[in-house]
């Protein structure tokens, strides 16, 4: 097992008029799985490709295991990579694909074959070793790609949205599998995704990127519960944007007084508060000011959209058992739980709702 630390220092990269990376700093501890999360075009894939050596940085340093690898070409960087697009060599069987990297390392045929079989077993596809990529499903192909990347015992594992092309069920399954395998082999891993659920479920730490920089990095719970900026609050998870007023270290929203997350630096006065749907409670109340507009059933939970006076919409998350009491047009009362919230003085600070699954309110 070889776990090394990875450090990206002040990485910058410009493509024509686009500043893809703008002084990105990122540290990965040995054996850690860090997910870079962000909307498309935020530079997360560029960062991964620079680490892989497939792209050059304009400036900055790339340290792997304490050595600067900036001048090492991609084929000597010793990194295993899984791509978003299916990348298995079509003319080779699954087994031969996994053997490819070992063959280049001049391993003896028997050892090579044994190692490749072992890897295919690890990713749960040992039975399909002799199949060609065209004969495998998308999920199976990505498993083989993972086996191929791990077979060479890379210093670093790079996963570039490996699950994006798969359908929902396979995606969740393979996601959990990737985590299990990563923990088992203990390879330092950088995982790039635009899917927040994926990042939160998989990573030791999640780094949220925006415009070529890290907006926040921390354990998934921290990023979700205490987003450092309105952008993070908006991009990670669903947020209601509710008008409020900041003063005395709290924000007053819909009549409730909510604490601010630590480090908030917004001047007193009107502001937008970002409130999670699970912090919103809805109760049927004939005297309530709200009116149920619509409900969407999500299995155990449901989301209810409530219209409030003043053209304000609020999305609340409730147990789906309560849906029966809250049909559309029901008059309701809306309560906010007093959990710390992020506020924004400036609306343009937050993420573009079109690029993620956040509520468009």
């Amino acid at each position: 097992m070889n776990s090394v630390a990875v450090r990206l220092e002040g990485l910058s990269r410009r493509f024509g008029a686009v500043q893809a990376l703008d002084g990105l700093d990122l540290d990965l501890a040995p054996g850690e799985l860090v997910a870079l999360l962000g909307p498309s075009g935020c530079g997360k894939t560029t960062a991964l490709r620079i680490l892989a050596g497939l792209e050059d940085a304009d400036s900055g340093r790339i340290m792997v295991g304490g050595k600067d690898v900036a001048n090492v070409p991609a084929n000597r960087r010793d990194m295993g990579m899984v791509f978003q697009a299916y990348s298995l060599f079509p003319h080779l069987t699954a087994l031969e694909n996994v053997e490819f990297g070992l063959r280049l390392r001049r391993q003896a045929a028997a050892a090579r074959r044994a190692r490749a079989h072992e890897m295919l077993e690890l990713v749960g596809i040992g039975a399909h070793a002799t199949r060609y990529p065209q004969q495998l499903s998308g999920g199976q192909q990505q498993r083989v790609a993972l086996a191929r990347a791990l077979a060479i015992q890379p210093q670093v594992l790079l996963l570039d949205e490996p699950l994006s092309a798969l359908d929902a069920k396979v995606r969740v399954q393979l996601r959990d599998e990737i985590r299990r395998i990563q923990l088992e082999v203990g390879t330092t891993t950088l995982f790039v995704t635009h899917d927040q659920e994926e990042a939160l479920a998989l990573a030791d730490r999640v780094g949220v990127m925006r415009a070529g920089r890290l907006e926040q990095i921390g354990p998934p719970e921290d990023v979700y519960r205490s987003p450092a900026t309105p952008f993070v609050a908006d991009f990670v998870g669903l947020s209601n944007r509710l008008p409020g007023r900041v003063g005395d270290g709290i924000v007053e929203v819909l009549g409730a007084r909510l604490p601010l997350v630590a480090g908030t630096d917004v001047p007193d006065g009107p502001a937008t508060a970002l409130v999670r749907p699970e912090s919103v409670d809805v109760t049927a109340d004939p005297d309530g000011a709200g009116r149920v507009l619509a409900a969407s059933f999500l299995g155990p939970m449901a989301r209810i959209t409530v219209a409030l006076p003043g053209d304000t919409l609020v999305v609340a998350q409730v147990a789906s058992a309560r849906l029966a009491d809250l049909p559309p047009e029901t008059a309701v009362r809306v309560d906010l739980r007093p959990v710390p919230v992020v506020v924004s003085g400036d609306r343009s600070e937050t993420a573009d709702p079109r690029t993620h699954s956040g509520a468009e309110l």
């Binding site: 892989a52 991609a74 990579m81 060599f89 990297g101 060609y132 060479i152």
Partner: protein, 275 residues
């Protein structure tokens, strides 16, 4: 209703056979005439004399030294032209696709250019160039390789570009590089095996083209098969026709192989996606 459909299907089938037959006759009749001419003996008898000579290499070389020289030259030209065309095109097209996608239109334009220039014009331009070629590498007929490579570019480019479009070269290349492959290994182990049928088509088309080329060789005073056939036609008509027929059949067989190579690949891909 069903009867109407059946009648239409039958009519279409008849039409199809008519077309195939007419075209077949159109193509095969001259070939048959050539065969008949080469087997015509004295007093209207049938003789295989010409063909016996043709297949007896030693005697052929002794009896028709010009033809022998032309065959050897064409054979060499075929091999050299195919090699040069592939060596020139495959890495260029791959590189342009990976690293200089903006140049793709330009490269395509340049490669298609020879198609628009008549051979006679090409020769006018080539003559002074060949003065230098003679100066540097001598006046051997094999120097026609350079001209033939240019002639083959449009066809070979099309074939290779199409083959490359069928695979995700960028991802495959990056995956191979990540696994530790240098550029040479990437080309040899990953790119080429996945565009084998495209490379094969490019090669076959080049072969057919080189075997059939007369104008440039003749005008530049070089020797090749077609020039030899032309010269032979003045002394031994039967043998020249026999050689022409053999060359035609060879080219036909090559093109047939080519279409089978393409079909084989398509079938494999279809089977793959079906399972």
């Amino acid at each position: 209703m069903a009867g109407l459909v059946r009648r239409r299907v039958r009519r279409q089938r008849i039409l199809r056979w008519v077309v195939v037959t007419v075209l077949g006759v159109f193509f095969l009749l001259p070939l048959f005439a050539m065969l008949e001419f080469t087997t015509r003996g004295a007093g209207g008898t049938l003789t295989a004399e010409t063909w016996r000579t043709f297949f007896d290499w030693r005697q052929l070389g002794e009896t028709y030294p010009v033809l022998w020289a032309g065959m050897k030259a064409s054979f060499g030209l075929v091999i050299l032209s195919v090699l040069l065309t592939l060596l020139l095109l495959v890495p260029t097209v791959v590189w342009v696709r990976l690293r200089l996608p903006r140049l793709r239109r330009t490269v395509e334009f340049i490669c298609l250019l020879p198609l628009t220039i008549p051979a006679i014009v090409l020769v006018v331009g080539l003559a002074p160039v060949y003065a230098w070629v003679v100066y540097f590498v001598g006046g051997s007929s094999l120097t026609l390789t350079f001209a033939y490579t240019i002639l083959a570019l449009p066809f070979a480019y099309r074939a290779i570009d199409a083959g490359l479009s069928a695979i995700d070269v960028r991802t495959l290349t990056e995956a191979a590089r990540g696994l530790g492959a240098g550029w040479a290994t990437v080309m040899w182990r990953v790119v080429l095996p996945n565009m084998r049928s495209a490379v094969l088509s490019a090669a076959f088309i080049t072969v057919a083209l080189v075997l059939g080329e007369f104008t440039i060789a003749s005008l530049l005073n070089r020797q090749n098969l077609q020039v030899a056939i032309d010269q032979l036609g003045k002394s031994s008509a039967t043998m020249s026709i026999a050689v022409s027929l053999a060359a035609l059949v060879l080219a036909f067989v090559l093109l047939l192989l080519l279409s089978f190579a393409g079909r084989g690949l398509r079938r494999r891909q279809r089977e793959g996606s079906a399972s």
